[in-house]
Amino acid sequence: MSISQISVFLENKSGSLADFSGVLAENKINIQAMSVAETSEFGIVRLIADDIYEAATILKDAGYIARITPVTCATIADKPGSLHEIIEVLNKEGIDVDYMYAFLGGRKENHAHIILKTADYKKTDAALSKAGIELLEE
């Protein structure tokens, strides 16, 4: 039930994000969600695309190091309190969140999608499903 996310290593220097988005644009890769994590030294771009395997191949051919990681994508109502609802479920199950990012709209109107990376996506998916939270599938 997880979805696939692609993570890419970027050097932390000016222009490297522009080069990267250029490759995506040139190859007409449609981005559904994206986040950039950075340290002072380097960055990791994480993104969800229409066809993740095609995107990974194109990026590897362009010389990037890319890795595909399974992540959980929860769909929640666009209203106060709904984020807390899922975090609370994870908290009770003792599941720690490594990182998360969110995007609005997307595949379901008036809803938001939360992408969650935890140590064990299967356990996370099961816990959220059991609590009646809608999960996005590929």
Binding site: F9, L10, E11, T39, I44, R46, Y64
Partner: protein, 433 residues
């Protein structure tokens, strides 16, 4: 069938070698005295005449010649025969200053190619082999030297020169290349490129590689041997002396046999110039005793080595030298600490990174800074920022314990550091001192 190209001389008794060296040295000293004003002047200044040199034991009486002397005498003031007797020049890359141009007679080329042929045979080569020479051809000695050696052995020679890596791999596969000759960093790059395209060592017929022209560590040897599925042999040489083949590794892969019928090797204290015994680390000095056009007497190589006359299991009797353990001139002094780029390479390989790096030294507020740029690799990349930082910190600690000083590590994009197809630029020193 022995694995020697010239068994009689390669396995000659030490007394026989000494006799040959005595005789050739005496003749060579007379040759330069009579034909090169520079040498005569230097000897006169030192109060020496050719009669004082009766053999190898008198070698230490002769003055050294340095790279600066070669530059001062650019291009042909050290040539000891009429230029009409010369048939070729080769030249250094000039990365450390003005180029040095070395002249060859036909006989000089012939003997040089013999030396390269010995290296190829020692690596298991014979006329049944296909030998791909991926060293640069042209002024650089790598391509022409191994090309000539390969012809002498009777290998089918594939003169690809350096560059165009996809074509190199295509030829290795299609022509069934068994021996590859290039710089070790280029061999590693060919290996990486093969691995990326999903090729395994079993997919290619390569069995041996002869790699030289730059310093490389034992870790790098293991890495190349694994990715290419070969035995990797070191070869040493200097354009000033002839080119590759001054010394070469045998089946032991531990130290390089100096071709003592053509070169006398000495190790001296780099500070005092005093000769050092076997087993002691010092600057390597060479005297070419057969070279006619461009003879060098006691040339200071700047390479730090150890010599050994211990018996070698391969049967060769010629003295062995270690891989250069550093250079007196590429030794970096950072915050007063001596640092050799090869130490950094060793740490990178031990920690799972590749040997593609650049060292950048600067001086900020009167303190030296050391930055090491290392390429990210698919094996070292994870989706986890913390994990990457942890590995980076591990590398910083490993560098600190190896070098005794703090180095900053910057992870850079894959393949962003230019690979050497000739010689790698590993060190950028921005200090204005």
């Amino acid at each position: 069938m022995g694995n020697y190209y010239q068994e009689e001389i390669e396995c000659a008794a030490p007394e026989k070698i000494k006799e040959l060296q005595d005789e050739r040295l005496v003749a060579q000293v007379k040759h330069v005295w009579s034909n090169v004003p520079f040498y005569r002047k230097k000897m006169e200044e030192a109060g020496i005449s050719p009669e004082d040199i009766k053999g190898r034991d008198d070698l230490h009486k002769l003055p050294f010649i340095t790279k600066a002397d070669l530059r001062d005498n650019y291009p042909d003031k050290l040539v000891a025969v009429p230029l009409s007797e010369c048939v070729r020049i080769q030249s250094t890359s000039g990365t450390t200053g003005k180029r040095v141009v070395a002249y060859y007679t036909q006989e000089d080329i012939d003997l040089w190619e013999d030396c390269c042929a010995r290296a190829i045979v020692a690596a298991g080569g014979s006329k049944e082999d296909v030998c791909q020479v991926s060293y640069g051809y042209g002024l650089f000695t790598g391509g022409p030297g191994l090309n000539g050696g390969s012809h002498k052995v009777g290998c089918l020679t594939v003169p690809t020169s350096s560059g165009n890596t996809d074509r190199q791999i295509m030829f290795i596969k299609d022509l069934k290349t068994t021996i590859l000759c290039c710089t070790p960093s280029y061999a590693a790059y060919i290996g990486e490129t093969m691995k990326e395209s999903g090729m395994k060592p079993e997919d290619i017929p390569l069995k041996a590689g002869i790699f030289g022209a730059e310093a490389w560590s034992e870790e790098m040897r293991r890495n190349i041997q694994n990715t290419l599925g070969i035995k990797a042999y070191d070869i040493y040489g200097l354009t000033e002396l002839s080119g590759p083949g001054v010394s070469f590794e045998c089946s032991e892969q531990a130290g390089m046999h100096v071709n003592e019928d053509h070169f006398i090797a000495e190790v001296v204290d780099p500070e005092t110039g005093e000769p050092l015994p076997d087993g002691e680390k010092g600057e390597l000095i060479f005297t070419s005793i057969t070279k006619k056009a461009f003879p060098l007497i006691r040339y200071r190589t700047r390479d730090i080595c150890i010599l050994s006359h211990e018996k070698c299991s391969c049967g060769r009797t010629h003295v062995k030298m270690t891989k250069p353990l550093g250079r007196t001139d590429d030794m970096l002094i950072i915050r007063g600490v001596n640092v050799f780029p090869s130490q950094i390479e060793t740490v990178l390989l031990k920690n799972g990174y590749q040997a593609n790096y650049q060292i950048i030294i600067d001086r900020v507020n009167n303190t030296d800074t050391l930055d090491v740029h290392v390429e990210m690799t698919p094996d070292m990349f994870t989706d986890n920022v913390g994990e990457i930082s942890r590995r980076q910190n591990e590398l910083v600690s490993a560098l600190r314990s190896m070098l005794g000083l703090k180095a900053n590590v910057t992870l850079v994009a894959p393949k962003s550091i230019i690979r050497s197809e000739g010689k790698a630029v590993r060190v950028i020193d921005n200090r204005k001192i």
